[in-house]
């Protein structure tokens, strides 16, 4: 079973990223559960979206020891780093996380937000870049399933941009696998 934790700031779209990942897992024929936790604020504050992916039925719906942690804010990184299991995979957005924690993990450090803003021209797709990056880094689900899931969820007219964002992230992740 994969336990994936996507953490960052409210408003970055990490809950949506988690939903897309879980939907991709279903397209890939897997069992999955997605949960989230956030503070009372709609924007800002540390937020976390969790996805479990398994070939078997999943009993317990929360991550107990994350195989993969995505950190897209310094606060979230500091707060949730303890969830990552030893030898797990850490994906950090170096645009926003300046201090990397000391950790026994395989680290993928990418300027995700910078890539979204400057290379793709829209900071809104940072979550999709991140999703691609961690999927590529950890071989979670088939890229084809992920692409299908992304396209089913994103607003009309942004399909190409999001597809590009996903593929950009995926390639960067895969290169470090």
């Amino acid at each position: 079973m994969w336990q994936i934790s996507l953490s960052g700031t409210g408003g970055q779209g990490l809950i949506l990223a988690g939903i897309i990942l879980a939907e991709a897992a279903i397209l890939d024929g897997k069992q999955t559960i997605q949960t989230q936790s956030y503070g009372p604020e709609a924007r800002g504050g540390a937020s976390k979206s969790e996805v479990l992916i398994s070939d078997q039925e999943i009993d317990y719906p929360k991550a107990t020891a994350a195989d993969i942690l995505l950190a897209m804010s310094q606060e979230a990184c500091n707060k949730y780093i303890g969830l990552l299991k030893q030898g797990g995979k850490l994906v950090v957005d170096t645009t926003l996380v300046k201090t990397l924690p000391e950790v026994d993990a395989k680290v993928l450090a990418l300027p995700i937000t910078h890539i979204a803003r400057n290379e793709l021209g829209n900071v809104m797709v940072a979550n999709i870049v991140a999703l691609g990056a961690l999927a590529g880094f950890a071989d979670l689900v088939e890229l084809e399933c992920l692409t299908k899931a992304v396209l089913a969820r994103v607003p009309k007219g942004t399909e190409e941009l999001n597809k590009k964002a996903l593929e950009t992230g995926y390639a960067l992740g895969q290169a470090e696998r």
């Binding site: 939903i19 939907e23 897997k30 559960i33 997605q34 989230q36 317990y60 719906p61 107990t64």
Partner: protein, 379 residues
């Protein structure tokens, strides 16, 4: 079966309501139940149904009662603070025998408590929240699929037994998204309320039939009758008569108690050879089943009785499951509410109440530990 998709518990609840024939929703926004309202606001109009966001929780309870009197299946959704406010008219719906479903996605309380964190502290409020004596039906699902199925059951039970039915979700189950395959419409059993078989001139709105339930005519269908929260006679008119009073209050219990077998829903997991029994429900049951499996891996014969029906309390089922075991572990995200009820059936000595009241779901090891202790340590 429809194809698999990702769905949230609250959404499955809304879909279950629609599948059961609910065509009226009155509600007020409150976390973590709001998705139920939002989804129904979007979906009801296409089905010719009605959605209204009322000015408060009491008003939404009144609106669903009013709608139900016209023959429509009606549902409202809330969380603890709203459930407290709704109690007044839940009691009204009980005595006036109005079928409505109240979804309560439980969060940690009392009061405003911890809005986005799960709790199961409304189990006793569902039973005793409204003043006076009355029978109560309350159901608690533990998965997204169960949210769908149990909502259909809740609507069916409310219609069949002419009573408010409480659906006790919790934040874990309500907000969790899970892979789910929903049944096709023709696979779903739908129950409609019993209509009068006599002409209007002979209709007595509150005269029970053999099953203890009076047939219910819809407003506007030519059957005139009076509906009141006062103790009433068979015509629905207020009465002070002691015999009619006792008969009515007793019937509010017996019409439910007599159908206990039909109303009792639960699932059994590894009970056949179990030496230690876990009884749980809702979100806690997800940690409980993981703990039971972990115990089995250690060679401990643990089993889980997962209750879906909370009220009327399935005491006989619990008693039977507990007969052969040494201990009954009861994990719940409250301070031991249902554990107390279980003690009434299996004795205080046998019950180990496991509580968590910080607004987080149990970790499986927190339930595994008392299981291990119950059998005298690790094997």
């Amino acid at each position: 079966m429809t194809k698999a998709r990702l769905m949230q518990g609250n959404q499955a609840c809304a879909e279950g309501a629609l599948a059961a024939g609910v065509r009226f929703f009155g509600g007020y926004p409150i976390t973590p139940s709001t998705e139920v309202a939002e989804i129904l606001a979007e979906k009801l109009p296409a089905l010719g149904g009605k959605f209204i966001q009322m000015e408060d929780e009491i008003a939404s309870m009144g609106a669903v009662c009013g709608a139900a009197l016209t023959g429509v299946k009606a549902l409202t959704a809330t969380s603890g603070p709203g459930f407290s406010l709704k109690q007044e008219l839940i009691g009204y719906a009980s005595i006036a025998e109005i079928p409505v479903v109240i979804v309560n996605v439980q969060r940690l309380g009392p009061s405003t408590g911890k809005p986005t964190s799960p709790g199961q502290g409304d189990v006793m409020q569902a039973r005793w929240g409204s003043h006076g004596d009355r029978g109560v039906i309350a159901l608690s699902p533990a998965s997204v699929r169960e949210c769908f199925d149990v909502t259909v059951k809740a609507v069916n039970f409310s219609e069949k037994f002419r009573t408010p039915v409480v659906l006790l979700l919790d934040e874990v189950i309500g907000h969790m998204r899970e892979r789910v395959e929903l049944p096709e419409p023709d696979e779903i059993e739908i129950i409609d309320r019993k209509l009068p078989a006599v002409p209007p001139s002979e209709y007595q709105a509150y005269k029970p039939e053999a099953d203890g339930i009076p047939p219910m005519a819809a407003f506007g269908s030519g059957y005139y009758y009076h509906v009141t929260g006062l103790v009433h006679n068979y015509l629905g008119q207020p009465t002070q008569a002691n015999d009619l009073t006792a008969e009515l209050i007793e019937r509010l219990h017996t019409k439910i108690d007599n159908a206990k077998e039909e109303l009792t829903l639960y699932t059994e997991h590894y009970l056949d050879d179990a030496e230690v029994l876990v009884v749980s429900y809702g979100g806690s049951a997800r940690a409980a089943i993981a703990a039971v499996k972990a115990a089995r891996e250690q060679g401990i014969k643990a089993g889980l009785l997962k209750l879906i029906t909370i009220w009327p309390f399935p005491g006989d089922v619990v008693k039977q499951a507990a007969a052969k075991v040494k201990k009954v572990i009861v994990p719940e995200m409250n301070y031991g509410q249902l554990a107390g009820e279980i003690e009434r059936y299996v004795g205080q000595d046998k019950v180990v109440s496991v509580t968590r009241v910080d607004g987080e779901l149990f970790k499986p090891e927190e339930i595994l530990a008392p299981i291990v202790t119950a059998v005298g340590g690790a094997k």
